[in-house]
């Protein structure tokens, strides 16, 4: 594993040194939930197989370094295939982005239960009339919950009137109380 990883990181030396920071920052962006670097930008440097390899290994390396907080000699051990110049660049990037990577990894750890809320959205609607009443003027809340379960996202959409919303808020507040007592 280690040999392969080194090989993977060693591939980085194919990239000119002045493009290296941009690539690394893009990989880190990917870890932090934004866009990964695109193959079409680096197609001239690596072939597809190498690309996948270098991407995977760089990401794994960054995750491992920040997530485990490894000591300096361990890092040097893993980086010894690269020249000192590349090593310096990599370490600089990592140092600069450490808080963000840490936050992203922590976020992942926090979302550890089998199903968790990834995002939510709400809309307030005013129903002007219904099939029975010509003027209704009933405010309705449309709540969308994005629940991630076993890695797949299932959207749940609920429409509530005022009382239902109040009861939902009450139960959520009770749940929050329980959680804050755990602290």
């Amino acid at each position: 594993m280690e040999g392969l990883q080194l090989q993977g990181l060693g591939l980085l030396s194919k990239l000119p040194i002045d493009r290296c920071p941009q690539f690394l920052h893009n990989v880190i962006d990917g870890i932090c939930g934004q866009a990964y670097p695109r193959f079409q930008d680096y197609g001239g440097v690596w072939n597809l197989k190498e690309w996948l390899q270098v991407l995977q290994d760089t990401e794994a390396f960054i995750r491992a370094v920040v997530g485990k907080d490894e000591p300096q000699e361990q890092l040097d051990n893993q980086l010894n295939e690269l020249t000192a110049e590349y090593q310096g660049v990599i370490l600089k990037c990592m140092k600069g982005r450490k808080p963000e990577i840490k936050d992203a990894l922590l976020q992942k750890v926090c979302a550890m239960s089998s199903a968790y809320l990834q995002d939510f959205d709400w809309q307030l609607k005013l129903a002007m009339s219904s099939d029975k009443l010509s003027t209704l003027q009933l405010p309705l809340v449309n709540l969308d919950l994005d629940i991630v379960k076993n890695g797949t996202m299932t959207p749940i959409s609920i429409e509530m009137n005022k009382e239902e919303l109040q009861s939902l808020i009450n139960s959520l507040e009770a749940a929050n109380k329980v959680v804050s007592q755990l602290k």
Binding site: P21, K95, E100
Partner: protein, 632 residues
Amino acid sequence: MEEVDRILIHSLRTCGTEIPEEVQSVRQFTTEIIVEAVVRCLRVINPSVASNLSHVLPPGMSARFRIGTSLAQACQDLGYNGEVGYQTFLYSSEPDIRALLIFLAEKLPRHSQEDAHQPAGKSAVLQREIASKIKQQLSVPWIPPMCRTAAAERSQSMCLSHRFQGQLLSLAGDHSAKSIPPERREYWEKYLPLVNMQLPHSYTLVASLLERNVLDISAVQEWEAEWKSQGLASRLSAEEYRSRKRQRLQKRIQDQLRQCNQQLLENNTLSAATQDFVDMLKSFTVEGETDQNKGSRFTHAKKFTHQQDPQVLNEQMQRAAESLSRKDAQNADTEEQELTSLQQQIELIEQEIQGLTESVKVLHLTLSQVEEETSKMQQGCKEKEDVVRVKKRAVELLPDAENNLTKLQAMIDSSTQRLVNLAGQWESHRVRLVEEYRELRRVHQEKEDESSRWMKDVKDLYDKIRASADEAKRKEELYKQLVSEYESLPKEVSRAAYTQRILEIVSNIKKQKEDITKILSDTKELQKEINSLTGKVDRTFVVTDELVFKDAKKDETVRKAYKYLAALHENCAQLIQTIQDTGTILREIRDLEEQIETETAKKTLSNLQKILEDYKAIKQENTLLLGRVREA
């Protein structure tokens, strides 16, 4: 009349009539304005009646005539009991129009005017705004996407139907802060993309920014709330409190995980709930490793809960590397075989380990038991040795018992003496120490009190700060609302001025009434005087008549005098009659003059001319129509 006209014009303007600025009184109203004003009022009062009436005067004479009649009919339907007809509108006279317009203005629904003046609440303002916005958007037709202007783009494009979904943004922090490492600063300066370049879709930008903002704000708020409720009470500095809390939480989590792991080891079977947990534990390790050594899930678990020494890690890495390289070299069959054999091996080893740990546990238990026994035995041995030593000494001293006894006595005496001495010394020391202790305790207590007082002050201050902030915010909002209300108020109309004027008018009327009563009483007095004077004249005449008549039979001159008297009386009566007649004629003249004035006010002449012209126009139209009929 001017006041009345101004109020009337204002209320006509509020119901939608366009009256030019220079028109200041009803006298200046043209036929067009009159028709428009009446139609607008009717529309406000009763939309169904006036819906088929146009507020623009048509050019054709006969159409004008029809509109005048229908307007008059509508006014009569509303309950106007004055004289009204088409001529009221087409050939207007000022008082008629004024009376009609006043009637209509009174009929206008009150609440619509009051609404505009009442201080509107926040929700009312919001609702009104929503209503107007919807109305405006409904009135705009659909425009194809390529032809949209910016405003239409906002209201009709699909961007509103996008979900409000934020994404994490990477933002630069405070550059001037000292604690930021230079690498981070360099990243911010050179590589950090602009906020709108960080997102895959531009429409998520607003959502992301808002979410980020809310995130920051709520983090600060939560921390403040916690700090005020618990942090201050713990009397630690902020950093200490944070680190303390972190430690507590870490310990708690560790306990939980250890407990769970223990259960896992004991049960050795995976229920659905524990499977979840194990999956989670697996995912913590580096992703690349997980799929290769599935069998050793306990090693993962252990790795997470206990600090692992680097050697074991290295071994694992090597093993993983080997298996990987082999995987590349050999085909799938042998790999499978190897995998199963390895798994078997692992299971065997695990069983062995388990057996060994069991035996280690048992051995530990026996070891501790044996240790306890030995310590007990050593204790007993020591006690026995002491007893033996005392007995030995006693046996040694036994031969010279008397002497030794006195010696012992002396020794005991001296030691008691010493003991007393020491006790005295101790006592003096103790007193000092106790005093010191008390003093220190008192000081501590004082400090405690002081600090709790400070604490209370700080809390009060916090509360005060928040209260004043809230207050400020509320006042700000109130101010804004009032400003908006003030701006929405019509500037030129003020209720107070109206009421003041009404009061002035009322007082004027009162004064006039007093004047009238005074004049009336004067007139009455005058009448009375006149009556009494006439009575006196009559009586005097009768008396004089009798006296003179008596003497008239005897004397010729007296008879002449009598004649003169009668003539005088008659002339005087005639004179009075004439004066009275003049009075009535004067009154009549005045009445007539008034009538002439009202008639001239009715613009009869010009109206007549207009009527004549209109008559001619109608004639012309009729001939035109006739001609057309003939042609057809």
